[in-house]
Protein backbone atom coordinates (compact mmCIF):
# COMPACT_ATOMS: atom_id res chain seq x y z
CA UNK A 1 0.00 0.00 0.00
CA UNK A 2 2.71 2.45 0.90
CA UNK A 3 5.09 2.71 -1.96
CA UNK A 4 8.37 4.45 -1.80
CA UNK A 5 9.39 6.56 -4.75
CA UNK A 6 11.51 9.64 -5.03
CA UNK A 7 13.97 10.29 -7.79
CA UNK A 8 16.91 10.86 -5.53
CA UNK A 9 16.16 8.20 -2.95
CA UNK A 10 19.54 7.04 -1.85
CA UNK A 11 20.65 4.00 0.05
CA UNK A 12 22.72 4.42 3.10
CA UNK A 13 26.26 3.29 2.58
CA UNK A 14 26.37 -0.38 3.47
CA UNK A 15 23.68 -2.28 5.35
CA UNK A 16 22.58 -0.13 8.27
CA UNK A 17 20.70 -3.06 9.71
CA UNK A 18 23.60 -5.54 9.51
CA UNK A 19 26.05 -3.00 10.87
CA UNK A 20 23.80 -2.26 13.83
CA UNK A 21 23.31 -5.97 14.49
CA UNK A 22 27.09 -6.50 14.47
CA UNK A 23 27.58 -3.56 16.79
CA UNK A 24 24.99 -4.83 19.26
CA UNK A 25 26.48 -8.32 19.19
CA UNK A 26 29.62 -6.89 20.75
CA UNK A 27 27.58 -6.32 23.88
CA UNK A 28 24.72 -8.81 23.66
CA UNK A 29 24.13 -12.39 22.65
CA UNK A 30 23.05 -12.55 18.98
CA UNK A 31 19.44 -13.37 19.82
CA UNK A 32 19.17 -10.47 22.27
CA UNK A 33 20.79 -8.12 19.77
CA UNK A 34 18.30 -9.24 17.15
CA UNK A 35 15.35 -8.65 19.50
CA UNK A 36 16.61 -5.23 20.49
CA UNK A 37 17.00 -4.22 16.86
CA UNK A 38 13.64 -5.67 15.87
CA UNK A 39 11.77 -3.81 18.61
CA UNK A 40 13.54 -0.53 17.80
CA UNK A 41 12.77 -0.91 14.08
CA UNK A 42 9.14 -1.58 14.78
CA UNK A 43 8.95 1.52 16.97
CA UNK A 44 10.66 3.54 14.25
CA UNK A 45 8.08 2.41 11.70
CA UNK A 46 10.68 0.59 9.68
CA UNK A 47 10.20 -3.09 10.51
CA UNK A 48 11.60 -4.50 7.28
CA UNK A 49 14.11 -3.91 4.54
CA UNK A 50 17.16 -1.72 4.60
CA UNK A 51 17.27 1.16 7.08
CA UNK A 52 17.65 4.43 5.20
CA UNK A 53 19.67 7.36 6.52
CA UNK A 54 16.84 9.41 8.00
CA UNK A 55 15.35 6.45 9.82
CA UNK A 56 18.69 5.24 11.13
CA UNK A 57 18.88 8.03 13.70
CA UNK A 58 15.40 7.14 14.94
CA UNK A 59 16.25 3.44 15.19
CA UNK A 60 19.43 4.20 17.14
CA UNK A 61 17.47 6.50 19.44
CA UNK A 62 14.94 3.72 20.09
CA UNK A 63 17.73 1.25 20.87
CA UNK A 64 19.24 3.74 23.30
CA UNK A 65 15.88 4.11 24.97
CA UNK A 66 15.50 0.41 25.64
CA UNK A 67 19.10 -0.19 26.74
CA UNK A 68 18.40 0.28 30.48
CA UNK A 69 15.91 -2.59 30.35
CA UNK A 70 18.45 -4.95 28.77
CA UNK A 71 21.64 -3.88 30.45
CA UNK A 72 21.78 -3.43 34.23
CA UNK A 73 25.49 -2.69 34.49
CA UNK A 74 25.98 1.10 34.07
CA UNK A 75 29.56 0.68 32.81
CA UNK A 76 28.59 -1.64 29.98
CA UNK A 77 25.58 0.53 29.22
CA UNK A 78 27.79 3.58 28.84
CA UNK A 79 30.15 1.68 26.57
CA UNK A 80 27.31 0.47 24.38
CA UNK A 81 25.81 3.98 24.24
CA UNK A 82 29.03 5.60 23.11
CA UNK A 83 29.53 2.88 20.48
CA UNK A 84 26.03 3.62 19.14
CA UNK A 85 26.66 7.38 19.08
CA UNK A 86 29.97 6.90 17.28
CA UNK A 87 28.28 4.66 14.74
CA UNK A 88 25.58 7.24 14.09
CA UNK A 89 28.10 10.08 13.82
CA UNK A 90 30.09 8.11 11.26
CA UNK A 91 27.02 7.48 9.18
CA UNK A 92 25.51 10.93 9.26
CA UNK A 93 28.65 12.67 8.05
CA UNK A 94 28.99 10.38 5.06
CA UNK A 95 26.83 12.17 2.52
CA UNK A 96 23.71 14.29 2.73
CA UNK A 97 20.52 13.04 4.27
CA UNK A 98 18.52 10.99 1.78
CA UNK A 99 15.35 12.26 0.25
CA UNK A 100 12.61 9.88 1.21
CA UNK A 101 9.23 10.14 -0.38
CA UNK A 102 6.10 8.42 0.74
CA UNK A 103 2.90 8.13 -1.16
CA UNK A 104 -0.36 7.26 0.56
CA UNK A 105 -3.44 6.64 -1.59
CA UNK A 106 -6.62 7.95 -0.02
CA UNK A 107 -9.76 6.06 -0.93
CA UNK A 108 -11.66 5.42 2.26
CA UNK A 109 -11.92 6.13 5.97
CA UNK A 110 -9.57 3.25 6.62
CA UNK A 111 -6.73 5.13 4.92
CA UNK A 112 -6.82 7.89 7.55
CA UNK A 113 -4.70 5.75 9.81
CA UNK A 114 -2.07 5.17 7.10
CA UNK A 115 -2.03 8.90 6.42
CA UNK A 116 -1.43 9.93 10.01
CA UNK A 117 1.09 7.15 10.65
CA UNK A 118 3.07 8.14 7.55
CA UNK A 119 2.87 11.78 8.65
CA UNK A 120 4.13 10.93 12.10
CA UNK A 121 7.06 8.84 10.95
CA UNK A 122 8.08 11.40 8.31
CA UNK A 123 7.92 14.21 10.87
CA UNK A 124 9.98 12.11 13.24
CA UNK A 125 12.57 11.41 10.54
CA UNK A 126 12.82 15.14 9.94
CA UNK A 127 13.78 15.55 13.57
CA UNK A 128 10.60 17.29 14.64
CA UNK A 129 9.51 17.69 18.26
CA UNK A 130 6.44 15.82 19.48
CA UNK A 131 4.48 19.06 19.17
CA UNK A 132 5.45 19.49 15.53
CA UNK A 133 4.77 15.81 14.90
CA UNK A 134 1.28 16.37 16.29
CA UNK A 135 0.77 19.41 14.09
CA UNK A 136 1.96 17.51 11.04
CA UNK A 137 -0.41 14.62 11.76
CA UNK A 138 -3.27 17.06 12.25
CA UNK A 139 -2.58 18.88 8.98
CA UNK A 140 -2.34 15.62 7.04
CA UNK A 141 -5.58 14.42 8.62
CA UNK A 142 -7.32 17.64 7.57
CA UNK A 143 -6.09 17.31 4.00
CA UNK A 144 -7.05 13.65 3.79
CA UNK A 145 -10.52 14.29 5.22
CA UNK A 146 -11.11 17.08 2.73
CA UNK A 147 -10.15 14.73 -0.08
CA UNK A 148 -12.49 12.00 1.19
CA UNK A 149 -15.34 14.42 1.68
CA UNK A 150 -15.11 16.50 -1.49
CA UNK A 151 -13.23 14.44 -4.05
CA UNK A 152 -13.82 10.87 -2.87
CA UNK A 153 -10.24 9.84 -3.54
CA UNK A 154 -6.77 11.23 -4.04
CA UNK A 155 -3.34 10.87 -2.60
CA UNK A 156 -0.95 12.34 -0.10
CA UNK A 157 2.77 12.69 -0.77
CA UNK A 158 5.33 13.29 1.92
CA UNK A 159 9.03 13.92 1.56
CA UNK A 160 11.93 15.16 3.61
CA UNK A 161 13.55 18.49 2.79
CA UNK A 162 16.77 19.90 4.14
CA UNK A 163 16.81 23.32 2.56
CA UNK A 164 16.52 26.00 3.79
CA UNK A 165 16.00 23.97 6.96
CA UNK A 166 15.19 20.38 7.84
CA UNK A 167 11.55 19.62 7.56
CA UNK A 168 8.98 17.91 5.42
CA UNK A 169 7.02 18.70 2.31
CA UNK A 170 3.41 17.61 2.04
CA UNK A 171 1.27 17.49 -1.06
CA UNK A 172 -2.38 16.46 -1.20
CA UNK A 173 -3.74 15.91 -4.68
CA UNK A 174 -7.17 14.96 -5.93
CA UNK A 175 -9.12 14.99 -9.17
CA UNK A 176 -12.33 16.07 -7.54
CA UNK A 177 -14.68 18.94 -8.41
CA UNK A 178 -12.15 21.60 -7.41
CA UNK A 179 -12.79 24.83 -5.57
CA UNK A 180 -14.37 27.62 -7.61
CA UNK A 181 -13.63 30.52 -5.31
CA UNK A 182 -10.38 29.87 -3.47
CA UNK A 183 -10.11 33.35 -1.98
CA UNK A 184 -13.50 32.99 -0.38
CA UNK A 185 -12.84 29.54 1.06
CA UNK A 186 -9.60 30.77 2.59
CA UNK A 187 -10.96 34.01 3.99
CA UNK A 188 -11.30 33.96 7.78
CA UNK A 189 -15.01 34.79 7.62
CA UNK A 190 -15.84 31.72 5.55
CA UNK A 191 -17.49 28.84 7.33
CA UNK A 192 -18.80 26.00 5.24
CA UNK A 193 -21.62 23.77 6.30
CA UNK A 194 -19.19 20.92 6.52
CA UNK A 195 -16.35 22.85 8.04
CA UNK A 196 -13.85 22.73 5.18
CA UNK A 197 -12.86 26.38 5.62
CA UNK A 198 -11.95 25.81 9.24
CA UNK A 199 -9.78 22.84 8.38
CA UNK A 200 -7.90 24.57 5.58
CA UNK A 201 -7.41 27.82 7.44
CA UNK A 202 -6.36 25.94 10.54
CA UNK A 203 -3.88 23.86 8.57
CA UNK A 204 -2.40 27.00 7.11
CA UNK A 205 -1.61 28.29 10.59
CA UNK A 206 0.21 25.10 11.53
CA UNK A 207 2.71 25.06 8.66
CA UNK A 208 5.44 27.34 7.34
CA UNK A 209 4.47 27.40 3.66
CA UNK A 210 1.05 26.90 2.18
CA UNK A 211 0.12 26.80 -1.47
CA UNK A 212 -3.14 25.74 -3.03
CA UNK A 213 -4.09 25.29 -6.66
CA UNK A 214 -7.55 24.46 -7.80
CA UNK A 215 -9.95 24.96 -10.66
CA UNK A 216 -13.50 23.73 -11.13
CA UNK A 217 -13.46 20.29 -12.73
CA UNK A 218 -9.69 20.00 -12.50
CA UNK A 219 -9.20 18.92 -8.91
CA UNK A 220 -7.22 20.45 -6.11
CA UNK A 221 -3.61 20.33 -5.07
CA UNK A 222 -2.43 21.63 -1.71
CA UNK A 223 1.32 21.89 -1.15
CA UNK A 224 2.78 22.61 2.27
CA UNK A 225 6.07 22.77 4.01
CA UNK A 226 6.78 22.43 7.66
CA UNK A 227 10.24 22.87 9.13
CA UNK A 228 11.54 21.17 12.22
Amino acid sequence: MNSTSGSQAQRSSGGGSDALQALLEKTFAPVVARTLLMVARRRANCPEGEISGGVLATVVREIEGSLPAYLADPERRRACLSALRAFLGERSTSGTSPIVARLVPINSDADMRLVTEAARSCARDAGMSVLDQTKTMTVCAELARNILQYAGSGELRLWLVDRPRRGIGIEAVDRGPGIADLARVLSPSYVSRTGMGIGLQGSRRLVDEFDIESAPGKGTSVTLRKYA
Binding site: V130, T134, K135, T138, I198, G202
Partner: protein
Protein backbone atom coordinates in the same frame (compact mmCIF):
# COMPACT_ATOMS: atom_id res chain seq x y z
CA UNK B 1 -18.62 -2.57 23.47
CA UNK B 2 -21.19 -0.66 21.47
CA UNK B 3 -22.09 -0.75 17.80
CA UNK B 4 -19.76 2.13 17.06
CA UNK B 5 -16.74 0.16 18.23
CA UNK B 6 -16.09 2.65 21.01
CA UNK B 7 -16.59 1.28 24.51
CA UNK B 8 -18.93 3.18 26.80
CA UNK B 9 -18.29 2.50 30.47
CA UNK B 10 -20.81 3.29 33.17
CA UNK B 11 -19.37 4.21 36.55
CA UNK B 12 -21.88 5.25 39.24
CA UNK B 13 -23.97 7.85 37.43
CA UNK B 14 -21.35 8.71 34.83
CA UNK B 15 -20.70 7.47 31.32
CA UNK B 16 -17.04 7.26 30.40
CA UNK B 17 -16.14 7.20 26.73
CA UNK B 18 -12.50 6.70 25.74
CA UNK B 19 -12.32 8.33 22.31
CA UNK B 20 -10.07 6.29 20.01
CA UNK B 21 -7.66 7.90 17.62
CA UNK B 22 -8.74 5.70 14.78
CA UNK B 23 -12.43 6.46 14.95
CA UNK B 24 -14.06 6.75 11.52
CA UNK B 25 -16.89 8.94 10.27
CA UNK B 26 -19.28 6.02 10.57
CA UNK B 27 -17.97 5.25 14.04
CA UNK B 28 -18.63 8.83 15.13
CA UNK B 29 -22.23 8.75 13.98
CA UNK B 30 -22.72 5.44 15.78
CA UNK B 31 -21.11 6.79 18.93
CA UNK B 32 -23.45 9.79 19.00
CA UNK B 33 -26.39 7.42 18.76
CA UNK B 34 -25.09 5.06 21.43
CA UNK B 35 -24.35 7.86 23.90
CA UNK B 36 -27.71 9.56 23.49
CA UNK B 37 -29.56 6.26 23.78
CA UNK B 38 -27.82 5.44 27.03
CA UNK B 39 -28.37 8.92 28.44
CA UNK B 40 -32.07 8.59 27.71
CA UNK B 41 -32.37 5.08 29.16
CA UNK B 42 -30.11 5.22 32.21
CA UNK B 43 -29.94 7.48 35.27
CA UNK B 44 -26.85 9.25 34.01
CA UNK B 45 -25.72 12.67 35.26
CA UNK B 46 -22.27 13.07 33.80
CA UNK B 47 -20.47 12.25 30.56
CA UNK B 48 -16.70 11.99 30.43
CA UNK B 49 -14.99 12.00 27.07
CA UNK B 50 -11.46 10.76 27.68
CA UNK B 51 -9.04 11.92 25.02
CA UNK B 52 -5.85 10.42 26.39
CA UNK B 53 -5.65 7.78 23.64
CA UNK B 54 -5.66 10.41 20.90
CA UNK B 55 -2.41 11.39 19.26
CA UNK B 56 -3.96 14.22 17.26
CA UNK B 57 -7.28 16.00 16.97
CA UNK B 58 -8.33 17.53 13.67
CA UNK B 59 -11.26 19.89 13.06
CA UNK B 60 -13.56 16.94 12.43
CA UNK B 61 -12.92 15.22 15.76
CA UNK B 62 -13.04 18.59 17.53
CA UNK B 63 -16.46 19.31 16.07
CA UNK B 64 -17.72 15.86 16.97
CA UNK B 65 -16.64 16.31 20.59
CA UNK B 66 -18.24 19.75 20.81
CA UNK B 67 -21.49 18.47 19.31
CA UNK B 68 -21.58 15.51 21.65
CA UNK B 69 -21.14 17.82 24.66
CA UNK B 70 -23.91 20.09 23.40
CA UNK B 71 -26.31 17.21 22.80
CA UNK B 72 -25.59 15.85 26.29
CA UNK B 73 -26.20 19.26 27.84
CA UNK B 74 -29.55 19.52 26.10
CA UNK B 75 -30.37 16.17 27.68
CA UNK B 76 -29.42 17.43 31.13
CA UNK B 77 -26.02 15.79 31.35
CA UNK B 78 -22.76 17.61 32.08
CA UNK B 79 -19.81 16.75 29.86
CA UNK B 80 -16.21 16.82 31.02
CA UNK B 81 -13.33 16.37 28.62
CA UNK B 82 -10.32 14.67 30.13
CA UNK B 83 -6.76 13.84 29.18
CA UNK B 84 -6.06 16.22 26.31
CA UNK B 85 -2.30 16.22 25.75
CA UNK B 86 -0.38 19.49 25.76
CA UNK B 87 0.50 18.97 22.09
CA UNK B 88 -3.14 18.58 21.06
CA UNK B 89 -4.21 21.54 23.19
CA UNK B 90 -1.60 23.78 21.56
CA UNK B 91 -2.37 22.52 18.06
CA UNK B 92 -6.13 23.05 18.20
CA UNK B 93 -5.65 26.47 19.76
CA UNK B 94 -3.27 27.52 17.01
CA UNK B 95 -5.74 26.29 14.42
CA UNK B 96 -8.38 28.50 15.96
CA UNK B 97 -10.56 25.56 16.93
CA UNK B 98 -12.24 26.16 20.24
CA UNK B 99 -13.84 23.87 22.74
CA UNK B 100 -15.56 26.71 24.55
CA UNK B 101 -18.31 25.72 26.91
CA UNK B 102 -16.83 22.29 27.58
CA UNK B 103 -15.27 21.69 30.99
CA UNK B 104 -11.85 20.07 30.66
CA UNK B 105 -9.66 18.31 33.20
CA UNK B 106 -6.13 17.00 33.13
CA UNK B 107 -7.10 13.36 33.56
CA UNK B 108 -9.92 10.94 34.20
CA UNK B 109 -9.57 11.08 37.98
CA UNK B 110 -9.99 14.85 38.02
CA UNK B 111 -12.96 14.52 35.69
CA UNK B 112 -14.72 12.23 38.16
CA UNK B 113 -13.89 14.61 41.01
CA UNK B 114 -15.21 17.56 39.01
CA UNK B 115 -18.52 15.83 38.32
CA UNK B 116 -18.86 14.77 41.98
CA UNK B 117 -18.14 18.34 43.08
CA UNK B 118 -20.74 19.77 40.71
CA UNK B 119 -23.32 17.30 41.96
CA UNK B 120 -22.57 18.19 45.56
CA UNK B 121 -23.02 21.85 44.79
CA UNK B 122 -26.33 21.17 43.09
CA UNK B 123 -27.66 19.23 46.06
CA UNK B 124 -26.49 21.93 48.48
CA UNK B 125 -28.40 24.52 46.46
CA UNK B 126 -31.48 22.33 46.66
CA UNK B 127 -31.12 22.09 50.45
CA UNK B 128 -30.98 25.85 50.79
CA UNK B 129 -34.02 26.25 48.54
CA UNK B 130 -36.21 24.11 50.80
CA UNK B 131 -37.28 25.11 54.30
CA UNK B 132 -35.44 22.98 56.83
CA UNK B 133 -37.54 20.28 58.42
CA UNK B 134 -35.90 20.63 61.82
Amino acid sequence: MSESGTPIIRLYSNLIVPIQGTISDAGIAGLREDVTRRIAAEPVRGLILDMSALSYMDSFVTRVVRDLALIARLMGVTTVLSGLSAEIAITITEMGLGLSGVVTTLNLERALEELARQREEESRELDIGQPSSA
